[in-house]
Subunit: 337 residues, 2 copies
DNA sequence: GACTTTAATGCAATCGATTGCAATTTGCGC
DNA sequence: GCGCAAATTGCAATCGATTGCATTAAAGTC
């Protein structure tokens, strides 16, 4: 069923049908009601593909989740899901549709094709990975895009994210206050966000004369199993460690598993702190101390920023989102101290 | 940049450009290469919106996640994310794009608008909730759709899912073999999938002369907090319980938290079994015994079924996916027995 | 009653591509 | 050198909607 059919049924032209359904003032109220009734009766829905071809207005936003070919599992991180959910909400609220793509992080230019090809009005990329330059190049081409990640020098693209340096510092201060002294860091510092968390963490320790050595830091992707292995290596290299800062809650959970394998009690022997405050962090055993990133606000902010970029305002700058330490059991000082 | 511009640059008509880019045989090889080079140089990407308006072939599939207005958090379940990720993969592999929508479960007919409006070629609905009749009505209108959920009587729509009755039975047999006798069920039996898990579970217990009473069953949505509260109520109503079957891993995690609040040890005092085998189940403390649903295969199966439905074969019927008990620590018999 | 407004509707061009058919060019046979 | 087939290319209609402008009908004015 298309507009022409409906027009025939109603005995009018397609112009009239179009006006009846679009809320134009140039139409008789009775005619409008008659046509709308017919449309309902025959389940007619306006073809939005044709509509936005003609009108040029697109109401679709592409959300791109880059993954590294090697480990296509980036999708496993619950934080990522939280963001996607909040984006879905934020877009729906504003009357936009969401096109979700996973994409090889080395071929991010394919995301550009979604814009060039008219599929979407704008791009939201989740995670900048190691592709700062590629993102800059895309932005310079004038693609309407916003990235979830970390603010970096020489950054020509819009970014939305938390204050990772602050987050790292909050964790260090907290662990110091709990009396911990032999801390290790778990996470892949090749990723800008993680690097900043590490920087905030290490700076604060250094100020307190507690430098972090290279062997007190292990790379681990966002994958649970790689987190477990990296943690085991850290334990073996630093058998006396008394605290772990993991760069995501998922890694924190994996780390707790690994620590238990090696007979450490949490938090009595080792304190563990995560990052993100995913829902399950509070239900884990023990509940995990973590740095909260306001997931729901994140979606809204990403969408708002992108839409104002599309509307053509000058490059919107988004202040870092609120970043806050949530203290739970996994890092509390206990009777053991 | 659009095709006409490129045609002008190349000094040919748009017909020729179109043929050059689409791999038609009706074109000189040199011309094709010249045009393709120009296209690359100017970042020209064919406008797929216009293309499928003209050709009528759509390469977009809508994935709809219904949620209940009351608790818009259905999105929090990690199993759901697993399915979405596997759908994204399955669709990408086959050259389709994925339109993701959350939708009020009471207004599922809005999903129909995605098809009627030409946005998508087909519909994948995740979870049937309490809306069997609505889904039947949609299918009868001839909408190309596939639902993840449970097979029910009088079902006119395509369904893909695991064997929930079997899953429930496997859990019961396992717990009986572990010597557990006072079991409770945690989950909202108003949902068909959960109801079937309960049925398999209860039937097997009955066969062993261990009926489940009403107060040994508590409704709990897919939300962690509601799971915790329901579990607390179950404990109070059945202080001597020695096993819990939760209808999802998320609920199992919440249940474990609640049991600990009441001083129960897992699995020494109470065995806990979940459902789904989400990635974190293995990393939880203790690792959770659960019924595996093959998430990755699920996405592939949903997509295959939908595509063959679209191609117009008669209603494809999909056998239940493999359903398998994964035994981990949370339900092992221990020294306490 | 002729003339101007105003309201409602239809005509036809347009969005950016694809494709059947016609037109042109080239090559080949004799 | 003519005729015909094959190889390329262009023209114009088409997909399903929207919208500026023209048209028609009804109402209001003097």
């Amino acid at each position: 069923m298309q507009m022409a059919d409906l027009a025939r049924l109603a005995g009018v032209s397609t112009s009239t049908v179009s006006r009846a359904l679009s809320g134009s003032a140039l139409i008789n109220e009775e005619t409008r009601e008659r046509i709308q009734a017919l449309a309902r009766q025959f389940n007619y829905t306006i073809n939005s593909v044709a509509t936005n071809l003609r009108s040029g207005v697109k109401r679709t936003i592409a959300v791109v989740v880059p993954y590294e070919m090697a480990s296509r599992q980036s999708f496993a991180d619950p934080f990522l899901h939280g963001i996607i959910g909040s984006l879905a909400d934020a877009l729906t609220e504003r009357g936009y549709e969401m096109l979700l793509s996973r994409m090889d992080a080395d071929r991010l230019d394919m995301a550009a094709a979604l814009i060039d090809g008219g599929r979407a009005a704008g791009l939201i990329l989740i995670g900048q990975w190691r592709h700062h330059d590629q993102l800059n190049a895309m932005a310079e081409r004038g693609l309407p895009m916003v990235v979830w990640g970390a603010r970096l020098p020489h950054q020509n693209y819009c970014i939305v994210g938390g204050d990772n340096v602050l987050g790292g510092r909050l964790v260090a201060e907290h662990l110091l206050a709990q009396g911990r002294r032999r801390m290790v860091f778990l996470g892949d510092a090749g990723l800008p966000e993680v690097a900043q968390r590490y920087r905030g963490f290490a700076q604060c320790l250094r100020k307190n004369a507690l430098p972090l050595l290279e062997q007190q830091r292990a790379a681990a992707s966002f994958l649970a199993d790689s987190g477990r292995k990296a943690m085991l290596a850290l334990i073996d290299a630093n058998p006396t460690l008394d605290a772990v800062f993991a760069s995501s809650d998922l890694l924190a959970m994996a780390a707790i598993g690994a620590l238990r394998e090696r007979g450490r009690r949490i938090p009595a022997d080792v304190a563990v702190v995560g990052y993100d405050d995913v829902e399950l962090a509070a239900y884990f055993n023990p509940p995990i101390t973590t740095v909260r990133q306001p997931i729901h606000e994140a979606g809204g902010r990403l969408v708002e920023t992108l839409l104002s970029l599309i509307k053509g305002q000058s490059l919107p700058v988004s202040a870092p989102l609120e970043t806050q330490l949530i203290v739970r059991e996994s890092s509390q000082a206990t009777a053991a101290y």
